[in-house]
């Protein structure tokens, strides 16, 4: 397994794979946080989560073309504008969708699955009609490409670092929002006991709408970040949805900390195995391990203790 490598090469392997694992971890965190909020806190299975990500990606694409045409001097910084726009647009659409569709389906989680699946098909077709069936290339400013040279062998890709920073910022912001703000307290109250929360005067439908919008907005930011590493096409969102649900379910649906722990374990397992086995094999093994653990712990790694 280790033959053919010198000790210093092995050190580099672990350094680089550790970094690869961390950047995969941040990708998973970004994908899953939005979904975890919607699924965990509201019980809505949002199959259109991937399409919200792609909406964020297309927003980034449009912003980048606009900057190129009208503000070429500012192109280096367009990405931050794009990310904020992606959040706002996805959150606004999320709010609209919640009002039009989701709020009629609470207490019927399986129906939200079907309804949002239909929504995802509609969104895909809309992208196809607007942007064409081909994938679009999002052009990135020069400074975001390259890598930081640490040693001869170890190089850290800048876009990987950026995705990490974005994931970290969102996780921290969410932590404060959920555990340190009045809004967060209300959300948790509604999750734990809706009638009681309503009885003490919390407007639970307003909380629902905000939470759904928040989840969609985070999906948009994730999509925006993924233009740095992946492709943007009408059906690219489909590629993310399975992994995203895997992370959320494995972590324990109602726990945001669980989501992060689960993202960490899955990404580290996969990235370590990828180095010594082939890519496909690593994926299969990861899935098998997750399935195995879920059989022993159906509620996921970290379940919320609720008195029912």
């Amino acid at each position: 397994m280790f033959d053919g490598y010198t000790t210093s090469e092995l050190m580099s392997i672990f350094a680089m794979q550790g970094f690869a694992g961390l950047s995969l971890f941040s990708v998973f965190v970004l994908m899953a946080l939005g979904l975890a909020i919607i699924f965990g806190q509201m019980g809505v299975i949002n199959m259109a989560h991937g399409e919200f990500m792609i909406l964020g990606a297309y927003t980034t694409y449009i912003t980048s073309s606009l900057f190129q045409s009208y503000l070429p001097g500012w192109f280096g910084g367009y990405f931050f504008v794009a990310m904020i726009l992606a959040f706002l647009i996805c959150a606004a659409l999320g709010m609209l969708i919640e009002w039009l569709m989701i709020r009629h389906l609470y207490h019927r989680p399986l129906d939200t699955l079907l309804a949002t699946w239909g929504l995802s098909l509609i969104m895909q077709q809309a992208y196809r009609s607007i942007f064409g069936a081909r994938e679009v290339g999002v052009e990135l400013p020069e400074w975001m490409m390259g890598a930081i040279q640490v040693t001869d062998l170890v190089e850290l890709p800048i876009n990987g670092l950026l995705v990490m920073i974005i994931a970290l910022s969102i996780a921290v912001a969410l932590y404060f929002l959920m555990y340190r703000s009045g809004y967060g307290k209300k959300v948790r109250a509604v999750v734990q006991n809706r009638p009681m929360a309503e009885a003490v005067g919390i407007n639970s439908s307003a909380i629902d709408r905000m939470t759904f919008a928040l989840g969609c907005g985070i999906a948009g930011v994730a999509g925006s970040a993924f233009t740095m590493i992946g492709s943007t096409g009408p059906s690219s969102g489909q590629a993310y949805i399975v992994d995203t649900f895997l992370v959320v379910v494995f972590g324990g649906a109602q726990s945001l900390i669980g989501t992060i722990v689960s993202a960490f374990s899955i990404s580290q397992a996969q990235s370590t195995m990828e180095f010594f086995l082939s890519g496909s094999m690593a994926k299969v093994l990861t899935l098998l391990v997750v399935v195995g653990i879920l059989m022993l712990r159906p509620e996921g790694l970290m379940a919320l203790k609720v008195r029912r």
């Binding site: 970094f19 995969l24 069936a133 999002v138 992946g230 492709s231 082939s278 890519g279």
Partner: protein, 391 residues
Amino acid sequence: MLATTVHAAPPTEEVNTTGLAVTDDTVTVGILHSVTGTMAISETGSVQAEKLAIEQINASGGVLGRQIKYVQEDGASDWPTFAEKSRKLLRQDKVAAVFGCWTSASRKAVLPVFEQYNGMLYYPTFYEGLEESPNVIYTGQEATQQIIAGIDWAVNEKGAESFYLLGSDYIWPRTSNKIARKHIDKLGLKVSGEEYYPLGHTQFNSVINKIKLKKPDVIFAIVVGGSNVAFYKQLQAAGIDPTKEKPLVLTISVTEDEIRGIGGENVEGIYASMKYFQSLDNENNKAFVKAFKEKYGDDMVIGDVTQAAYLGPWLWKAAVEKAGSFDIDKIREVSPGIEFTEAPEGYVRIHENHHLWSKGRIGLAQADGQYKLVHETDDLMEPDPFPEGYQ
């Protein structure tokens, strides 16, 4: 176009003894591609090229004095639908030939139908080989024509000694890499790694790390679809700049069409082994590109498969005229040896095994999304769909 000798239209009962859709002044063919579903992105170019060829043939007098009409069916990216539609084209429409299919899965699905009802399919995609049907003319390259040309070039011109094989996880990349490995072994050179990732995979950091450690001379990449975007962006981000050619990136899966999605700046400096590039500098190709853009718009790009699809109607016309008949059996009989001197790729000829003799070419990707031709084989390469030791 073809040096056309205008044929006086022979009577229908002479040229059509098997009840095909041929009248005194028209002949009907089929076009069978996906215009909806996931494959529509790729197959659109083929449909456009086939329609262009048919239009040009009609303008130059048609086939045996008959204008070509076509029935177009949508395979909808679904293999059973392909089989169903091909049955409809052959049985109900009685078409004289079908131009179509893209994925190997769709071709395998229609194959029994074409053999049962004795139809003739002109199939345009480069593919893994290991097939030879009396009812199919393969106008794209089979695997050895791309791979052997590519590897020989890297070895002879760039002094490559070690290769890292990489691909998406399905039959075409796996078979192709098997042939690559065999050829590399035969040359006494080294394969330093071989790896596959699921379709749609977007995290290539690990394999890129391995590549950096093993320091191969060549990364031989057969990544398809959206994964390409991730792969080339991450390659750049990890500090592997293809323009430095260390390691050199050689692909058989990225045509001008794919570059539109990946972005020219991300693939600048990679090499592709294909038989056709839009930038080929010859009179045939200039006329073809001009006609294509006039019909479909200036921002069109033409990839390898689009050109191969364009060959189909012309090769069929040549066969019909040589046979003096639309009958499938006669066309099959005369097809080996049929030449097309005005092909955009230069010159092609049909081999006894129904594949094309054609040149292997290497292109260097430019930032504007076009390939610059850097090498072509001196002679036409013989198609070899069943290379020894792969069955």
